[in-house]
């Protein structure tokens, strides 16, 4: 099994070894636009968190190529089981940045009604499955969805995303094992960003690579330069093609780097030498893609600025819109637990409503809650 790093653009010490995928200029520019938008969203959202305007955030800084390039190789019919560090997938599949922001604000326009912390998105319209915090659980679910696709003889694939830390979870093992045994059309994307909160890669596994783990599950494992969006696309495209014709799952390890903290609650400088970030900053996925596009005369300076301006404008409008919306009504707290409320829930809501009306319950940090 080859553990050579798949590279299209090449990098210091990494030779280009794979031809660029055949993508139309507009497809390339769309991928670029989503990468830029994701970067700008990240930057603004971290600031909103620092200003106390949203409660929490998980930056994807530096991992734009890894998750957006892989997702670009899918069709709209494929299913995505992401982790919480993959916001660009929703944007690439057509969700407006304002919808992400409504979720981050946990307001009443957020269709998940403020029930989860920021970045735990769910968008059924683009077949993006609800994101949770427990590590690795989505891996076994993606394998199950892929098994269902095979049972139904439908030519779709399930793709799931997780970090290097997740490879230690029991659902990594369960998911890859099930997909291997049932030859399910599932793509496992391990975004190896070097860190699981404060634990570095070598504290997570003694394996030389994550891709090598694929062999034990009877599937191909590939390593790809995770900051080379075209290499990431090429590797995923090949895996998807294999899966669609019944050749089963693939494990893709994207070698990338978590440039920010684990989350807005984390300070990476307490456990990580910032010099490492300087090295990775030179491999920035957006800078590299921009240089490649410019080299191919597919992106002009003015055009690049226009893309950024448009993204900035879209973000500004989205933040304004999300900030205007109030919190969800308290009664919604009891909805969607079951298809229909239980008598116990009815009783609890009646008691709570009464207490709220009498002013017994303290106001939350959002102020007055509508009933």
């Amino acid at each position: 099994m080859s553990l050579e790093l798949i590279s299209v653009m090449g990098d210091a010490g990494v030779p280009a070894n794979t031809p660029a995928p055949s993508l139309a200029p507009e497809q390339l520019l769309e991928i670029y636009r989503v990468m830029v938008l994701t970067r700008l969203l990240d930057d603004r959202a971290m600031k909103l968190q620092r200003q106390g305007r949203i409660g929490f955030y998980v930056p994807a800084l530096g991992q734009e190529a890894s998750h957006i390039g892989t997702a670009a190789a899918l069709t709209a019919d494929d299913w995505v089981f992401p982790s919480y560090r993959d916001p660009g997938i929703a944007l690439l599949r057509g969700v407006g940045v304002v919808e992400l922001l409504h979720q981050c604000y946990g307001n009443s326009t957020d269709h998940t009604l403020g029930r989860q912390m920021p970045v735990h998105y769910s968008f059924k319209k683009i077949r993006l499955v609800s994101i949770s915090s427990p590590i690795g659980t989505q891996i076994a679910q993606a394998a199950g969805a892929a098994m269902a696709m095979k049972i139904r003889k439908e030519p779709h694939v399930a793709i799931t995303y997780f970090g290097d830390g997740s490879t230690s979870s029991n659902d990594f093992h369960a998911g890859l094992n099930f997909a291997g045994v049932f030859a399910a059309p599932c793509i496992f994307v391990c975004e190896n960003n070097g860190w699981a909160i404060s634990v570095p890669l070598e504290g997570q596994t003694a394996s030389a690579t994550m891709a090598a783990k694929a062999e034990a599950y009877g599937m191909p494992g590939v390593r790809v330069d995770g900051n080379d969006v075209l290499a990431v696309y090429a590797a995923t495209h090949e895996a998807v093609e294999r899966a669609r014709v019944g050749h089963g799952p693939t494990l893709i390890e994207t070698i990338t780097f978590r440039m920010g903290g684990h989350s807005s609650s984390d300070d990476a400088s307490r456990y990580r030498d910032p010099k490492v970030c300087e090295i990775w900053a030179k491999r920035d996925p957006i800078d590299r893609f921009k240089a490649w596009l410019e080299g191919k005369k597919l992106l002009k300076v003015a055009q690049e600025q226009a893309i950024r301006d448009r993204c900035e404008q879209e973000l500004k409008e989205a933040i304004d819109a999300a900030e205007k919306v109030g919190p969800p009504a308290v009664s919604t707290m009891f909805d969607d637990v079951y298809a229909t409320r239980t008598t116990q829930q009815d009783e609890q809501w009646a008691e709570l409503k009464d207490a709220l009306k009498r002013g017994v319950v303290a106001k939350g940090h959002h102020g007055e809650f509508p009933l």
Partner: protein
């Protein structure tokens, strides 16, 4: 009507539903070729094939995680966990994922999945083949917990569980698997989830139980009847959602309640029922609410029959509340 054991009734329910709904699939360890270690899925692999009756690798979190993925995609999976004692690797998938999916996705994604798993003592299985973990799961909003006590209810409640739009943990009492035979309706037979059953009417004391303990209560009630004490027995049938109304109505009539469950006493679901009675029926109570349960120890092997609540201990509790 055919006479069936609970194992046969479960098998019948699975067959009926798989014939009716092509989305229904079974998965678990040994459920296919072997037909399950207790035989609950016997013959189904042969009738429906390997795509619909899947022998899986030995991984509970994989079985439930994959079943969730299948349910999200549009299948109606019935997963089997071979013994509830082995369900804990899947606890995360059940509690953090299946039970919260509808809520966290704003109703976009749902998990209409049934997890079947045998519970309780009665087969000399020691503590890894005998436990009753219903209380852990009753504490999880978003999950339904169903425990039949008869073959007929097992069929009717299993059909209701498979058709339920939410995830259901369907716990099958091994004590009853092959010991009780009764007439079970053929074909369509659905018992609504969330309705307790009055097993025996009485006026002096209410015995509240589920699963294997319902039969123990019936034996105790027969003894008590010889002594002139008239017991009413409520089979809870569904732990979540709980039919409080039926329980309250009975206790308000008798003024006395004894709750019987196999699990360790501390933190058992009977404590919840006791709290409900204290909150909502205290004016009707003539005596303290008592619990007859397993003990706060692991489930023992040799001393199984001592550990399990049995008619003698139940009768004692009845006498105590009647004479209070």
């Amino acid at each position: 009507m055919p006479v069936m054991t609970m194992v046969e009734a479960i098998n019948d329910a699975l067959r009926v539903e798989m014939r009716r709904d092509p989305r229904v699939v079974l998965l678990g360890e040994d459920v296919g070729v072997k037909g399950g270690v207790f035989g609950c899925s016997a013959g189904l692999w042969k009738e429906f094939g390997g795509d619909r009756v899947m022998d899986t690798p030995l991984s509970e979190s994989g079985i439930v995680g994959a079943a969730i993925g299948m349910a999200l995609y549009g299948l109606v999976p019935v997963a089997e966990i071979q013994f509830s004692d082995f369900i804990y690797p899947a606890f995360d998938q059940i509690v953090s994922e299946a039970a919260k999916m509808r809520y966290r996705s704003g109703g976009e994604y749902t998990v209409p999945m049934t997890i079947r798993t045998p519970i309780g003592g009665g087969i000399r299985g020691g503590h890894y083949h005998s436990q009753s973990p219903e209380a852990y799961f009753a504490h999880t909003p978003g999950l339904k917990v169903v425990v039949p006590s008869t073959p007929s209810d097992a069929k009717g409640l299993l059909l209701a569980s498979i058709r339920d739009p939410d995830p259901v943990l369907f716990m099958e009492p091994k004590l009853v698997y092959r010991t009780l035979k009764e007439e079970v309706p053929e074909g369509e037979h659905v018992v609504e989830i969330g309705k307790a059953r009055v097993v025996r009417s009485g006026k002096d004391v209410t015995l509240i139980a589920w699963g294997g303990m319902v039969g123990m209560c019936e034996k105790a009630a027969a003894k008590c009847a010889e002594e002139g004490i008239d017991c009413e027995i409520i089979d809870v049938r569904t732990i979540v959602p709980l039919d409080e109304a039926t329980i309250l109505e009975s206790v308000k009539k008798t003024g006395r309640a004894v709750i019987v469950y196999e699990a360790p006493k501390t933190g058992g679901f009977g404590g919840e029922i006791s709290a409900i009675l204290a909150e909502k029926a205290i004016e009707w109570l003539e005596a303290p609410i008592l619990r007859v349960t397993g003990f706060d120890t692991p489930f023992p092997y040799t001393l199984e029959s001592v550990y399990l609540p049995e008619p003698g201990r139940i009768r004692e509790a009845v006498l105590k509340v009647v004479r209070f």
